[in-house]
Amino acid sequence: MKVNCKAEIVKIEKLKEDLYKFSIQAEEIVSCAKPGQFIDVRVVDGIEPLLRRPISIYNLDKENGILEFIFQVKGKGTSLLAQRKVGEKLDIIGPLGYGTFSIKDYKNVAIIGGGIGMFPLYELAKELKEKTTSNVHIYMGFRNKDLVTLEEEFKNVSDELTITTDDGSYGISGFAINELKKDCEKEVPDKIFACGPLPMLKAVQAFAAQNNIPCEISLEEKMACGLGVCLGCAVKTAKSPSDAPEYWHVCKAGPVFNATDVEI
């Protein structure tokens, strides 16, 4: 069930200059949240900024009722959030989104993510490892060495981890999708999960379609409410006719979609 609660911040880690990991006490949300879902955060309790900010669930510690999320400082909202302190309470709503990653037994799973799109993939990989027999290969793409994060963490929830940087300053040089394509020449995965920048998602979507690989992608759209009310985060459905387009909403139908269902 979705709840609006005040969750105490129990730990803050600064992972990079502009990247923070928050651990919050949120039993009610943790007990029912699924990988791929997000929470909507009021960065301050006052009037400004008014709207909540959507942030993915990074990790669910079911035993201790702790939810972790990681965010990058982008604008006003996230910079105010970064100033919050341990012991303070965050006004959050969650878990949000009905479209979640499908956790089941696969043979070979490829998980591909880039930049801040990596975060929702952690709980996915973790649950695949804990609850299923799937063999999990994670591909993480970053622009350069300085941006590489969470390598250890993702290593711990995968059978194989491939890291690429666009400029070759760390790991393999090039885009993560190219490594996935290369590996597919040897063995084709029976499932792909992806989250990251739009160009990467488009490439993954096209690749999965060409090779008939079932694929789920997590989308990001600006959203005012996160609750299915404001209708701002529209995404076109793939099969609707161009003269009468049909739309879904990322916050409600997503954020995770079957790659063949949406036009991005």
Partner: protein, 222 residues
């Protein structure tokens, strides 16, 4: 109609459908269909700046509002509320147009047309370049317009625009609103409406008010 109406029916509350079109024919067609549904009323949206080629044009003049409203009135037996745009110089003109065409009430204000620019990209934040501004920042405009309309019309006014607390609602009611509604507030806190009702009750206790209607239009001007 297929999904939302059955869902809403499970709750013990009135259902008012907000209807928007781009031509008079659209509105009339829509009203004919709405008239057959199990709903409690219709709010004609003559003023949504977020809907492309929308209804803005009808909503800004006495004649425009009167024309659409009378056409709809002919085919609609249910309570009819006309929602007004604040993007006009004189809000009382369209309000009178609604009243003269037989509307049962007016609601105001819809969003104010706004624009916001990303100074780093030198481009508007919104894909549509401009869009409807709402939330607490528009409340003083809404309260002023409700007051102005209340001086001119005798049909009930539904006041809205930036209401997030009971105090906000009281302001609208003192200005002349018989009912209030909450839009943007729901995006921030889904139980805003409940808090607003509690706030109104607290105000009534504080001033020993027995009947909430006592405060409608009770503002005393300086």
């Amino acid at each position: 109609m297929e999904n939302d109406l059955p869902y809403l029916k499970q709750f013990d509350t009135a259902i008012i459908v907000n209807a928007c079109g781009s031509t008079i024919e659209d509105y009339v067609e829509l009203a004919k269909v709405l008239n057959t549904l199990d709903i409690d009323g219709v709010e004609l949206n003559l003023s949504c700046p977020n809907v492309k080629a929308g209804c803005l044009a009808f909503g800004t003049s006495y004649e425009g509002v009167k024309e659409v409203t009378s056409q709809v009135r002919k085919v609609l037996d249910k309570p009819l509320i006309v929602k007004l745009t604040p993007n006009v110089t004189d809000i009382t003109a369209p309000a009178l147009g609604a009243q003269d065409a037989g509307a049962d009430g007016v609601s105001l204000i819809n969003t104010l047309l706004g624009m916001s620019i990303d100074i780093h990209k030198r481009r508007p934040h919104l894909a549509n370049n401009t869009g409807g501004l709402s939330g607490p920042c528009v409340k003083p405009v809404g309260v002023r317009m409700v007051y102005q309309v209340a001086q001119k019309v005798n049909i009930p006014i539904l006041g809205l625009g930036g209401i997030v607390t009971g105090e906000d609602a009281i302001e609208y009611m003192l200005a002349g609103a018989t009912a209030v509604s909450v839009g943007t507030g729901n995006f921030i806190t889904p139980d805003t409406a409940i808090k607003v009702v509690e706030g109104i009750e607290n105000y009534m206790k504080q001033y020993n008010i027995q009947d909430v209607n006592e405060i409608v239009g009770a503002v005393q001007m300086n």
